[in-house]
């Protein structure tokens, strides 16, 4: 009886492993095909300016932002600043200037529910390190979508 149970478990485990390998292969093929679809000419780039960067200031603090461009030798970076009591926005000559503790930090490009997109001008001497975030295909959004899909399929299977 025990031997029969062990044998059945072994078969189930093998089937599960085979399914796992099959699904992995299908996914790999799927992604490879998508990569081919996304392949474009080397001259192709997104018209809208913006490259994700990680910046460390000489003062020591670091943040992620979007490098938009360069103007008069100064880098222009958009970053998200959470709303708080120390952040104020004052309209001056039609421009929304963002202040942190009464110190201007940049222009408000977009005021959202929980944060403000601030456009800062950073001189090179203010920057200790700046790195471009490349090939960020996966992120928390992908992981969250995976968990949600997993739970959804589980619910559908239970119905």
């Amino acid at each position: 009886m025990t031997e029969a149970h062990g044998s059945t478990r072994g078969v189930f485990a093998t089937v599960r492993l085979a399914r796992l390998i099959l699904a992995g292969g299908l996914l790999a093929g799927f992604i490879a095909m998508l990569s081919g679809c996304a392949a474009t000419s080397p001259e192709n780039f997104v018209e809208e300016p913006g490259v994700t960067v990680r910046i460390v200031r000489t003062s020591g603090d670091s943040f992620s932002g979007t490098l938009i461009g360069m103007d008069d030798g100064v880098l222009i970076v958009d970053r998200s600043v959470p709303k708080s009591s120390s952040i104020t926005v004052v309209r001056n000559d039609g421009v929304d200037v963002v202040y942190r503790d009464d110190t201007p930090i940049g222009r408000a490009m977009e005021i959202r529910g929980v944060d403000i997109v601030v456009r800062e001008r950073l001189a090179f001497f203010e920057i200790d390190d700046i790195r471009v975030v490349s090939k960020a295909y996966f992120g928390w959004g992908t992981a969250i979508a995976a968990v949600l899909a997993f739970l959804l399929v589980q619910v559908l299977q239970d119905m």
């Binding site: 474009t40 000419s41 461009g69 471009v132």
Partner: protein, 165 residues
């Protein structure tokens, strides 16, 4: 769903989702690590693609791939189609790109083939003080692949795991 401990099916229902979520969490963490952070001064050899469209104080407009950027200079990879009188010449052991008899600015790097056309790649350096304005752009291919992957890969992995387990 009623769970009966000791019952094989019930136990499976309790244990499998936790294990699967753990696997997904680990996969997510590993996937987050796939992104690379490349210093702006080392973009060229890294393979990371950033495009730059810039205008110099002389009024010249240039579009190319960013090779490096620091406080003093910006180096851009420019592509010139080898057609007409544009060709690579070697003089004194040094290869350079010429248009007719005039040497084009920049350091010759290599010859690529782009959609059947031969293209010369040169690296050209600009002093930051000579740059009037510049904008930085993502690679179109990388952006579209990123959207596709994040939109489809997550649900695909989650759904597949739920079916398998």
């Amino acid at each position: 769903m009623t769970l009966r401990f000791g019952d094989t099916a019930g136990t499976r229902r309790v244990c499998v989702p936790a294990a699967a979520l753990l696997v997904l969490l680990c996969a997510g963490l590993v996937a987050c690590g796939c992104a690379r952070r490349v210093p702006l001064t080392e973009l060229g050899p890294s393979g990371a693609v950033v495009w730059v469209r810039m205008a110099t104080s002389d009024g010249e407009q240039v579009t190319g791939r960013l090779v490096s950027l620091d406080a003093g200079s910006m180096v851009i990879a420019l592509r010139h189609a080898l057609e007409g009188d544009v060709r690579v010449r070697e003089r004194g052991g040094d290869k350079a790109l010429y248009s007719g008899t005039e040497r084009l600015p920049g350091r010759f790097v290599r010859i690529d083939t782009d959609e059947g056309e031969r293209v010369a790649v040169v690296h050209r350096a600009f002093q930051v003080v000579d740059i009037n304005s510049a904008t930085f752009h993502e690679s179109g291919g990388e952006r579209s692949l990123s959207s596709i992957v994040s939109l489809l890969l997550g649900p695909a992995i989650g759904g597949a795991l739920a079916f398998i387990l």
